[in-house]
């Protein structure tokens, strides 16, 4: 439907900017003061998962700061799933709305980013022009410019870090006889055999559940390097055979004997809270500590990372191609990268999401912001994240999901 998108708002200054930006994006972004000037008075609709009251509260704080510092109004559009924002932008493109979209910023990474890039739904490059971007020190931290092996190419700006972290109830019967929780996939299987019904993972295609598959695959297969290429370039069956063999053995010892799986990652926490599980995992390292604070988990909960390291990734903020408030969205992305905002985000009292800045490179005063007391016993040990496994190519996620559903999806 290639037709000009007619709208009364065509007169607004914001839209004029939007229309002119894609063509002449670079020069305007490089003049950061001009971007901030444009941003003044704009309302940025920031679509971000709204399932966590602490994240929501942090975003609220960001909105207050943006208003105060830059005269930008930030509206948090609370999503139940980032993909619904992707749907929205797609629907707008389908309808020919190329300049006055309803979304200005999206919290995103991985498959959703790959899909939006593939279908040209994102604005950019902009990230590397943000003044605070250099603080991430991308030369030494390639993960801030790579999203599930895909080069970001300035189409999203890093925001925070997640890493698979296991947690267990140290008082639970399953841990009465052994001192240490399972540190490898094989130990996990042994543990599950001894204590049947006390561990599970979210149902595929849930994001956290799919990550568990990838984590297991990386540890079990001896063809790791294949995972970092598109799946079409390798023999999927051969690479994944050890995984299915493992899962066939594991499932009978899972919660509900593997006949049903919890709907989502957060649901694992609820099951821990109900005493149905003794061992679970989360993408957020501080998840268990926060849950103890909020009365959801017993104080006897402890967190740890598997011996060989666990999958970690960076999550980002992107701007849809048809956002009418790109200047405001960039001002937001830049503020999110500021030491003040990153330190606040990392604090357990706010969110507990790890920073993407290279803290060693910050000034002493800035570094001080990040030095908080982390004596909560439910937090993972400080050196837990020394070994972070990189995310495989996004095509593996889809292929693993399909294969899992084929094998276990209809029992």
């Amino acid at each position: 439907m290639p037709r000009p998108y007619r709208r009364t708002a065509l007169l607004s200054a914001g839209l004029t900017l939007a229309l002119s930006l894609p063509a002449a994006a670079q020069p305007k972004i490089d003049d950061w003061d001009a971007v901030l000037k444009r941003a003044e008075g704009q309302t940025v609709y920031w679509n971000a998962w709204g399932g966590d009251s602490r994240t929501n509260r942090y975003i609220d704080w960001v909105a207050g700061q943006m208003q105060e510092r830059f005269d930008v109004e930030v509206e948090h559009v609370k999503l139940e799933d980032a993909s619904s924002a992707v749907s929205r932008v797609l629907a707008e493109k389908q309808a020919g709305n190329d300049a006055d979209g309803s979304i200005d910023a999206i919290w995103i990474n991985g498959e959703n980013f790959a899909a939006m890039r593939e279908h040209d739904l994102l604005f950019g490059p902009f990230a590397e022009s943000l003044p605070h971007f250099a603080l991430t020190n991308p030369a030494d931290n390639p993960e801030v410019v790579t999203d599930f092996t895909l080069p970001v190419e300035g189409h999203e700006s890093p925001w925070g870090r997640a890493q698979i972290t296991f947690y267990y109830d140290s008082q639970a019967a399953g841990f009465g006889t052994r001192q240490t929780p399972p540190g490898t996939m094989h130990e996990l299987l042994d543990w599950a055999r001894e204590t049947p019904g006390r561990f599970t993972y979210p149902r595929i295609p849930d994001f956290t559940g799919s990550t568990f598959l990838k984590q297991a695959l990386i540890e079990l297969t001896d063809q790791d390097e294949a995972l970092y290429q598109p799946v079409s370039e390798s023999d999927f069956d051969a690479v994944t055979a050890p995984l299915w063999d493992y899962l066939d053995k594991l499932h009978p010892h899972l919660w509900r004997k593997g006949e049903s799986f919890p709907a989502s990652g957060p649901r694992l926490r609820t099951l821990m809270s109900d005493g149905e599980l003794d061992l679970a995992f989360s993408f957020y390292p501080t998840d268990a500590a926060v849950a103890v604070k909020e009365y959801q988990l017993p104080p006897s909960v402890r967190s740890y990372v598997l011996d060989g390291g666990t999958l970690g990734n960076v999550h980002f903020v992107a701007i849809p191609y048809n956002s009418p408030h790109k200047a405001g969205a960039m001002a937001l992305a830049n503020f999110l990268l500021s030491p003040a905002a990153q330190a606040k985000k990392q604090s357990l009292d706010y969110w507990g999401d790890r920073t993407v800045l290279d803290v060693s490179r910050l000034s002493e005063a800035q570094r001080a912001l990040f030095e908080t007391q982390n004596d909560n016993p439910a937090l993972p040990p400080a050196d837990a994240f020394d070994n972070t496994l990189a995310e495989p190519h996004p095509s593996w996620m889809t292929a693993l999901q399909d294969a899992w559903l084929e094998r276990y999806g209809a029992q």
Binding site: G50, D81, E92, S102, P394
Partner: protein, 569 residues
């Protein structure tokens, strides 16, 4: 003006559904240029049929679409037959009616927590009775046959059917029928079933069809209580539409068409079942059996509904406890401590959400009520029978939301209508209007016309008669219809979320977003707030009529006034 009302209403309801369906039908056959689909093909269908567990998903949806309404109907009918107007009837009615106000998801969460192996019921009985120190590893919630899902739906549909039946019964004068039957020696319950039910069923058939459509295509409850390997069809569709792999849209669209087929099949099978039942029960009706099975029928009627009401209340009690719970370890019957943290944490966010929820609900329901009144008054003035085309009013209830809302977003965007409050209200109207019509039409048509004739003979104009005679006489059903409309509007998630592009925040969108985080304490707080709003509406509906019909207006002949029973009082 009035003449145009039916046309306007039908256009208002059918055009968006048709536009939405068209936008889904095209990609279902491979046409979606924005994703590179330039030609028509059957590939989406081939991909769909290759999905593991697809037929099982469809069968689950179909089964839930038939079993849920059947059980709910039996429970309601037997209850009405057994309890009639006794004290039990009034008590249970009071107990059950507020349940109508509780959103599906809220009741789903409550029920899941009640019956789970680590849930409220098990905690109350452990360890003193069961000996369990830790929850047994039993698959109760999300069971593969969908039994817990159907139980949840039945709990939620019983109050709706009960309310609809009570409104219809008002017009049937069941006491007279039963009186005659009893004088001929029939036992009360049997007599009611043989004389009142045949008249009642046609009046509640449309609400039943709405229940069938809902039960075969719902997402809210299925996500919480339904099976997962594979899930019911509607849940799979939502997953495919939300798949990061955008090429899944083609298959998702085909699946949405298939969902429509499943719902229509459920409706068709039900219709066949109606015929069959009528045919097989005819001998029983006229055979003259007067007492046989009376005790069993009466007992079942009383226990089924009372039991359902108590289960639902227990589920709600669980939500209340959780909303103030500190840490709560199994098998403690109560939390170790209580805290208001959860309530305090969300109060700052509450204001805006409550404001827009109320605005949308009130405006949508008001517009819907005015339109429905216009349609009905037009019928009355022109002495016409209800137009056959009015069936189309139920289109938005019968076509699964999931099948046309995604398409409707594209249609609205193409028409250049920006997502905003107005669009959300229009979207809500699609679902509110049919329910308002459902709740009001029978009472309106059956109001004794002599009241208006008397008014006219006293020289009152038609319009004045409408405002000063008809509306006051219909105050009770009007307010009930209004409360139903409000409850429907408040419960809407997908239309609010999709048509408002997330910019319009209501209590329900907040609740669903938070629910994805799995914090049961916060979910409980939101679910309760979500339930309290429509509940307030129902309480108002129950008390206001007594104010409206002040002594001066109260007609002397009680027979033709809408009785208080219809008001949930």
């Amino acid at each position: 003006m009035l003449r145009l009302a039916p046309l306007l209403v039908i256009a208002l309801l059918t055009l968006p559904v048709a536009a939405g369906l068209a936008m889904i039908a095209l990609p279902a056959f491979g046409y979606l240029p924005v994703l590179g689909g330039d030609t028509f093909s059957l590939a989406p269908w081939q991909e769909l049929f290759a999905q593991p567990g697809l037929w099982r998903s469809a069968a689950l949806s179909l089964a839930s679409g038939l079993i849920t309404p059947a059980v709910a109907l039996v429970a309601v009918v037997l209850f009405l037959a057994a309890a009639q107007n006794g004290r039990l009837a009034r008590g249970v009615r009071r107990l059950i009616s507020p349940l109508l106000a509780i959103p599906h998801a809220a009741l789903g969460f409550g029920l899941a927590f009640l019956i789970a192996p680590s849930g409220l019921a098990m905690r109350a009985a452990s360890p003193w009775l069961t000996g369990a120190e830790r929850p047994p590893d039993a698959l109760i919630v999300n069971d593969p046959l969908g039994l817990s899902l159907m139980a949840g739906l039945i709990l939620k549909e019983i109050p709706f059917l009960l309310l609809m039946s009570l409104a219809a019964l008002n017009q049937l004068r069941p006491e007279k029928h039963v009186e005659i039957a009893r004088s001929l020696g029939y036992a009360p319950t049997t007599g009611w079933l043989k004389t009142v039910l045949p008249g009642l069923y046609p009046l509640i058939r449309l609400p039943l069809y709405a229940v069938i459509a809902y039960a075969s295509a719902n997402v809210d409850m299925a996500l919480i209580l339904g099976p997962s390997l594979p899930p019911p069809l509607a849940v799979s569709i939502l997953e495919w539409f939300n798949d990061p792999d955008l090429n899944r849209r083609f298959m998702a669209s085909a699946a949405a068409m298939m969902q429509l087929g499943v719902t229509l099949t459920a409706l068709g099978l039900w219709w066949l079942g109606e015929r069959l039942t009528a045919y097989t029960l005819r001998p029983w009706l006229s055979a003259g059996g007067r007492q046989r099975g009376e005790r069993v029928l009466t007992l079942t009627g009383r226990t089924l509904l009372t039991g359902a009401g108590l289960v639902a209340l227990a589920a709600l009690a669980g939500l209340v406890i959780f909303s103030v719970a500190g840490f709560w370890r199994f098998p403690d019957a109560l939390p170790q401590g209580f805290t208001l943290d959860h309530w305090q944490r969300f109060t700052p966010m509450l204001g805006e959400a409550l404001g827009s929820t109320a605005t949308i609900g009130l405006v949508a329901t008001l517009v819907a009520t005015l339109l429905v009144l216009a349609v009905l008054e037009n019928e009355h003035r022109r002495h016409i029978r209800p137009a056959r085309a009015l069936w189309l009013l139920y289109l938005p209830l019968i076509v699964p939301q999931i099948a046309f809302l995604f398409g409707l977003v594209v249609a609205a965007e193409s028409a250049g209508i920006a997502p905003q409050m107005g669009l959300v209200i229009a979207g809500h109207l699609l679902f509110v209007l049919p329910y308002v019509y459902l709740s009001l039409a029978e009472a309106y048509r059956r109001l004794d016309p002599r009241w208006l004739e008397i008014a006219r003979s006293l020289g009152v104009t038609r319009n004045a008669a409408f405002w000063r005679v008809r509306l006051p006489l219909l105050a009770a059903p009007l307010l009930t219809a209004f409360a139903v409309g409000l409850a429907i509007s408040i419960g809407q998630y997908l239309p609010t979320r999709l048509l408002g592009a997330g910019r319009v925040e209501t209590v329900t969108t907040e609740a669903v977003a938070l629910a994805s985080g799995g914090n049961r304490r916060l979910i409980s707080v939101w679910a309760l707030v979500q339930a309290l709003l429509p509940l307030a509406g129902f309480m108002l509906a129950a008390t206001l009529p007594t104010l409206f019909t002040a002594p001066r207006h109260r007609p002397r002949c009680a027979k033709s006034t809408p009785q208080k029973d219809a008001t949930l009082a």
